[in-house]
Amino acid sequence: MTSATSEKKRRGGWFREEFGNPERRLAYYMVLPAVLIIVIIAFFPIAYSVVLSVTDSTITGMGSFVGVENYVEMFKNPDFLEGLKNTVIFTVGSVALEFVIGLGVALAVNRAFRGRGLVRAAVLVPWAFPTVISAVMWRLMFQDPIGIINETANALGIISQPILSDATLLLIACILVDVWKTMPFMALLLLAGLQTIPGEVYEAARVDGANVMQRFFRITLPLLKGTILVAVLFRTLDAYRVYDLFWVLSSEQLESLSTFVFKSVRISQLLFAQGNAAAVFIFVTAFIIALIFIRIFGMQTGTEE
């Protein structure tokens, strides 16, 4: 990306070169519709959100400029802070569990065995469920008094009150449901990455006397780094915008950053401008998370072969 820009400055004639060539011109015509759709429907509204967040606008009319007042109010709002706290705990908890368990499962099934098809189906079924439907299903199982999990946990003495009426238990339940739903998918991605590591590398290491732990930390992890970063970044940003699961599993009780935005701009429209500030906050922080992965961990985003 950077090399393209510097080159552009050096050679003034790139525009003519790009658009004078019929094949290249055609290429631009072919990518233009998709790019335009994305820019108009996704990037333009973000700019609009930023504008709304520094005014006292309502859903019906544009307000006047108020500076950072909405952001200041937002950071004083206990609901927002609760949402922020829950989102961070949820993201860190679910992604960490999914990665550790997913890697374990991927390593375990990275071999030939009977019943691969069944396992693959078992991986894909939770993934293909709509999140809200899995939330409905788990809510039915957590439900007091008919839910099997609520009943079992009660009988074993793990919980003393119904799961669905306690904020901490609800957050734990959300993390576990998310692990159930997306850990298999994580395992699938990591397995595909593992299968690109040639078997000879392990053979050579074994001949050289490397033990299991050494092979894992010196070969598997470094060679799998690219896949791990893509999978973890993807899951982190996905967990960070959690909305469906919280909304349905907790019957609209448990707050996340996204449910805070939704409630502010869609339900209680008195907080419309503050909701936009929170929306911008989510966008900017998600962007920072992505940058951290790309810059600090050196994730490859290039698409060139």
Binding site: M1, E23, A27, I38, M137, P145, G199, F272, V280, T303
Partner: protein, 286 residues
């Protein structure tokens, strides 16, 4: 892919190791499938049995009462129809724009390919909730709020990166010499695309269609934000609302959830091999 696994699997493992491995697999499959199986069980017992205890639920004789309840609800049928229309339209639009764009990225040379690909990819990391307020205002201004378009438009934008990403991976795998041959024979780039690439890429395009359809079928945030009329709800909004419609009729809620997931489970079981290859294409590059 399979060969690497086979060589490793062939290294000697004891019988105990094998037993533990299969116990682990059985546990894994059971945990994955359990909610669907249990909720299915809940959907085929009477209200009274369901309310007694989970143990009774497990052993009660099966009845179809709950399915009669949900299929007797016109809003539920309508929601299924709405979801099919919205997901179907989204899939068709995404494939149209996505395949044209993906072909250019996979096959043609141009300067800004990498920034364009990054821009497209950025959308899949984009928190959709950040744009619901502006979109709400704009959709109201142009009069599409509370219509199918209020779901199809944003669904298309957020499904397009997935569509393009997977199609690029599939298009790159196709042999380039065939197109070259077509061009030597006097075909234009567009003709080469239509007559050579499209038929060859059909399996890949089909896989992409399934994934795009599942993505759109599962969408909830936009539908919940932009749709107010019950008659326009897709299933993802209608089913959670069953909790207020049927309150303690948990059997009906279970039946609704089961009916909505059945098409997906069938799709996944039939096309699992293709889906896995589609999902891992691009995500992992050797």
């Amino acid at each position: 892919m399979a060969s690497a696994a086979t060589t490793k699997g062939a290294t000697s493992r004891g019988p105990l190791n094998m037993i533990l491995f299969y116990v682990f697999l059985a546990f894994f499959v059971l945990v994955s499938m359990f909610p669907l199986l249990w909720v299915f069980r809940m959907s085929i017992v009477t209200k009274a049995d369901l309310l007694t205890s989970p143990t009774v639920t497990l052993t009660a004789p099966p009845v179809v009462e709950s399915y009669k309840t949900v299929f007797g609800n016109p809003d539920f049928i309508q929601a299924l129809v709405n979801s099919v229309i919205v997901s179907g339209s989204t899939t068709v639009i995404c494939l149209f724009f996505g395949s044209i764009c993906a072909y250019a990225i996979a096959r043609l040379r141009f300067r800004f390919k990498s920034p364009i690909m990054t821009l497209i990819l950025a959308i899949s990391f984009f928190p959709a909730v950040a744009i619901i307020a502006p979109l709400f205002i704009q959709f109201s201004a142009v009069g599409v709020i509370d219509t199918y378009w209020a779901m199809i438009i944003p669904d298309t934008v957020f499904a397009l990166p997935l569509t393009i990403w997977i199609l690029v991976a599939f298009f790159r795998e196709l042999p380039a010499d065939l197109e070259e041959a077509a061009k030597v024979d006097g075909a234009t780039t567009i003709q080469a695309f239509r007559k050579v690439i499209v038929p060859l890429a059909a399996p890949g395009v089909f896989t992409t269609a399934i994934l795009t359809f599942i993505f759109a079928w599962n969408e909830f945030l936009f539908a919940n934000t932009f749709i107010f009329t019950a008659a326009h709800y897709p299933v993802t909004v209608a089913i959670p609302n069953f909790a207020t419609v049927y309150t303690t009729d948990y059997g009906a809620q279970s039946a609704g959830a089961v009916v909505v997931t059945i098409p997906l489970v069938i799709l996944v079981l039939i096309f699992q091999r293709r889906i896995v290859s589609g999902l891992t294409a691009g995500a992992v590059k050797g």
